[in-house]
Structure formats: C-alpha cells, structure tokens
C-alpha cells in the first residue's frame, strides 16, 4: 500500500460511515412516516385532551339483522368495568360519540365523589377515544366511577340538552 492510499483511508471510512448514516436515516424516516397514518381529529384545547380520532365507534356488536331504522334520541355508551394499574396516567375505555348521533357530547370521566379524571372537548358524532389520559393516577382499590355525557347542540354556543351518566366499577391493581 502506498503512502497516498494510507493517508486517504481514514477519510474514506468517515465518508462511507456518513453515507451509511444518511441512508439509514432516510430509511427510518420513511418507516416513521408510514406508521403515522391515523391522524387525530381536530380538537380544541380544553382541559386534558387525549388522542381523539374520527371514525370512532363504541365497539359493541349489534345482534340485530342490520335492518333497524335510525331512531330518534341520542345514543350513550355504557360499561360495567374498567381496569388500570396504580401509577397509570391513562385508562383504556371507549369514550366517545356514536356516529349515529346528531348532537355533540362532552364526556367527563369522574369518580362518584366528584373527582374529575378527564374532561373531553365537544365530541362530534363519530369522534372518541380508546384510551383516555388522566388528571391524576389512583391508588390500588375499587372505585365507583362514571362517564357523564352532556348532550349539546352542535351550534356555536353548544346549547346544553339532557345528560346521561354511565356508571362503572374502576379496578386499580397494584402497579
């Protein structure tokens, strides 16, 4: 190996490494872009806001033959129980506004004693969350919890309508 080649070898290694890093970076970025296909819905900053998505449904299968006609009134999701671990700052619970509705819903997840764990902005029909961020975590135990659904008109004032409460047991396990 001549002197010139010897001198150029470190420079070549650096260049090759740099090229490799750039190629790797581009590949990673492409993967990242491809993975972010589910866009969050537009949401107003109000209280603690979670990942609200369009195309939400309550996940409850319908045993009817599908021929049922649209009914008046507002659909409200209900649950018997939810689980989380002590220290968790989020709760897996389908909270949202069924797509068949024609009004908005404001969902407040709270304990029976009034402790508010999460309050959503106005959810339009078809908007909701599958995992909600919590204002605070809870200690191990069993809690009487509820989602308070305030029905509102989809006008500028969000004129209030009747409301509904879906009560459930919240079990907090040791983290």
């Amino acid at each position: 190996m001549d002197k010139k080649t010897k001198r150029n070898t470190p420079v070549m290694i650096v260049l090759v490494l740099l090229a490799a890093l750039i190629i790797g970076g581009i590949a990673g970025y492409v993967v990242y872009l491809m993975s972010g296909s589910q866009k969050p819905a537009e949401e107003k900053a109000q209280g603690v806001v979670g990942r609200i998505t369009d195309g939400w449904d309550d996940g409850i299968s319908d045993d009817t033959d599908g021929s049922s006609q649209a009914k008046g009134g507002t659909r409200i999701p209900g649950y018997s129980a939810a689980y989380m671990n002590e220290g968790d700052m989020s709760l897996v619970l389908r909270v949202g506004n069924p797509p068949e509705n024609t009004v908005g819903l404001i969902a407040t997840v709270r304990l029976e004693d009034g402790t508010v764990l999460y309050e959503s902005p106005v959810l339009k029909p078809g908007q909701g969350l599958e995992e909600i961020p919590l204002n605070q975590t809870l200690s191990k135990g069993e809690y009487n919890a509820q989602v308070y659904y305030q029905c509102v008109l989809l006008d500028d004032e969000h004129t209030p309508l009747n409301a509904a409460v879906s009560a459930f047991k919240l079990y907090v396990n040791q983290g």
Binding site: L17, S35, R51, S80, E130, A164, V165, A167
Partner: protein, 207 residues
C-alpha cells in the same frame, strides 16, 4: 481486500443505523400499538364481567307552547318519550340488568327533587312537571302516580326501568299542569323555558 472490508463495514453500519431509526419510529408507534394491545389484553383477560351497552335517551323533550288557563283547574299538557337499550354485550339476562334512573339535573336526595323547567331569562321562575314510567293519557293522569310522587333516595335518581335484552324499550309520559300558570302576570312569566333530565345507567344484579 481493504475495499471489501470497507464495503462490509459500510453495509453493517447502514443496517444498524436503519434498524436503530426503525426501532425508534416503531417505539413511537409501539406506544400506540401497545395501548391497543393492552386494550385487547385488558378487555379479553382483565374484565371478567366486561359488559358493554348502548342506550338511547331523549336529548330534548318539548312541551311546546303552554297556555294560561282561565280557571284554577287541572289543565295538563303531555308529551311522550322513550328510552331504549339499543345494544348490549356480555349481560347475563337471568341475573343482571341495565338499570336506568332519571332525575332533574338539580335534584338531590337531600334537597329539591322536582323536575322543573326554568325561564331562560329569569331562572327564578320555574314550573314543575311530572315523569311517568308508562304511557299515560291526559284523562288517566289522576289515576297514575308519577315517578316523582315517591321520594328520591339515591343520587342516581328515580328508578325508571331495568333492561335485560337488546331492543327493549320503555315508553313514558311527561306531564305539566298548566294550572301553575293561573293567576300569574303573563308579562312576568312569558318567555322560553328549559329544564334538563339526567339519565343514569348502570349494570345491576336482578334482585
């Protein structure tokens, strides 16, 4: 030989680098995926009595125009409503039910329990109405007791019904006695009125 080593080194670095960024990207995604995986895990494995359901409630009930009667006698205006268990999964209909309670938004067991509508301009002007858990015609009203004839002992409200199967519907009636308007200065009480009902649902054992 040297060139071969360099190419091998370059390929290795490119692969490691790509893998690292992919994992980083996957970590971002994986937190979401994780959540979804946890949903499945928790729903399937962590909720032994995971009952989910959907009820339909009336978002608005409109009495329409109220009329001041000429004499202090009963003069009812009625309007029907319904509550439906639209969907339900996981309910043992032999031992469990979806119980529905109803109350005025301001009602408490220790305080005023009336269902009321209030003047939108002056909330101090209120009129009471009654809620029935069955369809009642105007002439039959005196022979039925409304839900609020009883005392509300629970913060949930007055017990309205218990659903056990999909599609089950409760039809009921609201009634306002316009005799409350009798003798009032119409200029004072004229205007729009509104009141809000709260429907409370929960899974309970059938007793």
């Amino acid at each position: 030989m040297k060139t071969k080593k360099l190419i091998t080194l370059a390929l290795s670095v490119a692969m490691i680098s790509a893998a690292f960024v992919t994992v980083s990207a996957a970590t971002l995604t994986e937190e979401q995926q994780d959540g979804k995986t946890e949903v499945t895990a928790r729903i399937n494995g962590g909720v032994p009595d995971g009952i989910t359901y959907e009820i339909i409630i009336p978002d608005v009930i409109d009495f329409g125009d109220l009329t001041q009667p000429d004499s202090n006698t009963d003069s009812y205006k009625i309007v029907d409503y319904s509550v439906t268990l639209e969907k339900v999964n996981g309910l043992d209909e032999n031992t469990q039910q979806i119980s529905v309670y109803v109350k005025d938004q301001n009602a408490t067991p220790d305080g005023n329990q009336d269902f009321k509508i209030a003047n939108k301009e002056n909330s101090a002007i209120t009129f009471k109405y009654d809620v029935y858990d069955t369809l009642v015609s105007e002439q039959d009203l005196p022979t039925f007791h409304s839900l609020n004839y009883n005392t509300m002992t629970k913060t949930k409200g007055f017990y309205l019904t218990g659903f056990t199967f999909e599609g089950q519907e409760l039809k009921g009636t609201l009634a306002i006695n316009q005799s409350q308007l009798y003798g009032r200065d119409i200029l004072d009480i004229a205007g729009d009125y509104s009141g809000y009902m709260v429907f409370y649902s929960t899974v309970e054992d059938i007793t």
